[in-house]
Subunit: 337 residues, 2 copies
């Protein structure tokens, strides 16, 4: 009997769903993440989008074997069930609460969805990206790898000794929130409220804040040789190098894979990051290698799918890379469904 | 047939060996770690001390089933074999090479010993301490725990999701060597050559350096209410809190166990560390608990032994705590053997 898997990606801005069979991705749908209504809104939207993708794929929702959800985080647990406590979705946790669209302090994602599908696996978007890169991307076959997204935020997911790190509440590798200066004085505040966090120093918005233009523009000017942009990118790369070194000092990683929008400038960043990184404790850093993500543009489908895909499919997908032939995504207005 | 296990602890100052049967520790021997001769000196000393302990226990060395070695690190690998590249033993790696007693750049510990015993397991002293605490001490039954030694150095060992982290070269949790300030200016240099490492900021010698007296004296004066000592201990505790938070942000740990000589002041340190720790990202820190090591004084025997002890012994040792009734240790002069 043919099996079907649904993959979900819940971000602060958009939520995507796709449905795949053994042969490839059958249907994909995209909708702005809903933030109005009760705290069951997002789980209901996920369920609706899976149903929508199933209809596009001409299958019944009851034929779905498992759902893999890649989501913004962090998580907490209520009993054994994960709830999402992401300040960029849950208005009740946001720093500027008055400006938010809801007062949610948590989203009962696992509770609301676990009865609806035979199997459900939820992971934060960097842990699921690490799984995807290790199965299909730049980390194939690697036992000691770290995936890092360098984007609007900074996050990570890691395998150590071939084991995927999740931790007590599935929050492992919140790399963006490590403190990079024990002396907070003059250091920027992070979205989470902390000071001198890696994310507040090197993520896209941090680059923009320090320069006064969008980070994309800063990289453009850096490529043109503009000294202020060059100096900033050099500084940001050096701080990121120390953040990555800190992760390596703890995890004894061999391979670091960089993804995310800022990392699209990896040609520019790699020598700058490497220069500072390899200066740190040579016994720990000497054997570490960096690669750019191979799945960067496909994680919306592949991250969630990798969480639940049967082992027996993997070789076939590695060989055929069917994600590169995925159908066009259907874009739904927020009021549909 | 009775089984016997040897446990080794190799430190910069001393090396200990013990031999245990199912009923308890039979013999223990202690000798200054040898640092003169060729690079096979330390492996030969280990082999000699096991033989010495066996004679004391009235068994034949051939009766040893397995050897567990807890050692100073870091490690590198030559082929699949671990070599010790610890600057405090290998003179060829030391910062002040002219003052060192040898020119070793590595100790071929696994290569030299693996043929001599049926089974050999080597781990750094904090990883083995984590195993011991989880089997017999403050971490019993905990899947997400971090053991940290706060002593002359800072080191760690961790379980995440019940998996012991080792990493590509068994160097996981070099917590003392994470960078605590991306701006090195004015920051102390670490023994490894790096700047602003956690160890250089909060370990015993760092406390002594910042005050001008031994760290033990600083704690004594702090307890007496001496303002300068109080301010320093408060500052050191706050930096340690951020180092521990960084580990929690990456590993999503539930339980942190503190051991080592500085941590003997845990009554004083716990509220100071906790005050700063729980200010960091509440979703990640709220459920974390701290405990003091239960095996602190017994790790010389129990760390190495825990690496190789059969599962079938564990309940018996948990119940009887035979390490508390271990025989007196025999102290050998460095020229014996």
């Amino acid at each position: 009997m043919q099996e079907y898997f649904a993959a979900i990606d819940i971000g602060a801005t958009k939520t995507t769903a796709s449905v795949s069979s053994r042969d490839g991705i059958l249907a994909r749908v995209y909708q702005p993440t809903r933030k109005r209504g009760d705290r069951g809104t997002v789980p209901r939207q996920v369920d609706f989008l899976i149903g929508f993708a199933c209809r596009q794929a001409a299958i019944d929702k009851g034929q779905i074997t498992a759902v893999g959800i890649s989501t913004a985080s962090p998580f907490e647990k209520r009993g054994e069930r994960l709830v999402v406590v992401a300040p960029n979705i849950c208005g009740g946790l946001a720093e500027k609460r008055e400006a938010s669209e809801n007062d949610w302090t948590e989203i009962p994602l696992e509770e609301d969805l676990s009865g609806k599908y035979p199997r459900l696996r939820i992971a934060n978007d960097c842990i699921s990206a690490a799984v995807a890169e290790r199965s299909f991307g730049a980390g194939r076959g690697e036992k000691d790898m770290l995936y890092v997204t360098w984007s609007t935020g900074i996050g990570g997911g890691a395998f150590v000794d071939g084991h995927l790190l999740t931790g007590k509440n599935d929050n492992a590798l919140h790399l963006g929130h490590i403190v990079m200066n024990h002396n907070y004085e003059g250091e920027p505040q992070c979205g989470c409220g902390g000071y001198a966090h890696l994310e507040a120093l090197v993520a896209g918005p941090a680059i923009a804040r320090q320069y006064g233009e969008e980070s994309r523009e800063v990289f453009k000017r850096c490529r043109e040789g503009e000294p202020k942009a060059e100096a900033l990118i050099r500084k940001v790369a050096a701080v990121m190098a120390l953040g990555l070194y800190n992760a390596v000092a703890l995890l004894d990683t061999r391979l670091i894979i960089l993804g995310g929008s800022v990392s699209k400038n990896w040609d520019l960043l790699e020598p700058l990051v490497g220069e500072e990184f390899y200066k740190c404790f040579p016994s720990l850093t000497r054997e570490v290698v960096f690669r750019h993500s191979e799945l960067d543009d496909y994680l919306g489908d592949m991250a969630g799918l990798s969480l639940v895909m049967p082992d027996s499919w993997i070789a076939r997908w590695q060989a055929g890379k069917p994600w590169e032939q995925a159908p066009e995504i259907t874009v739904l207005e927020s009021d549909v469904g």
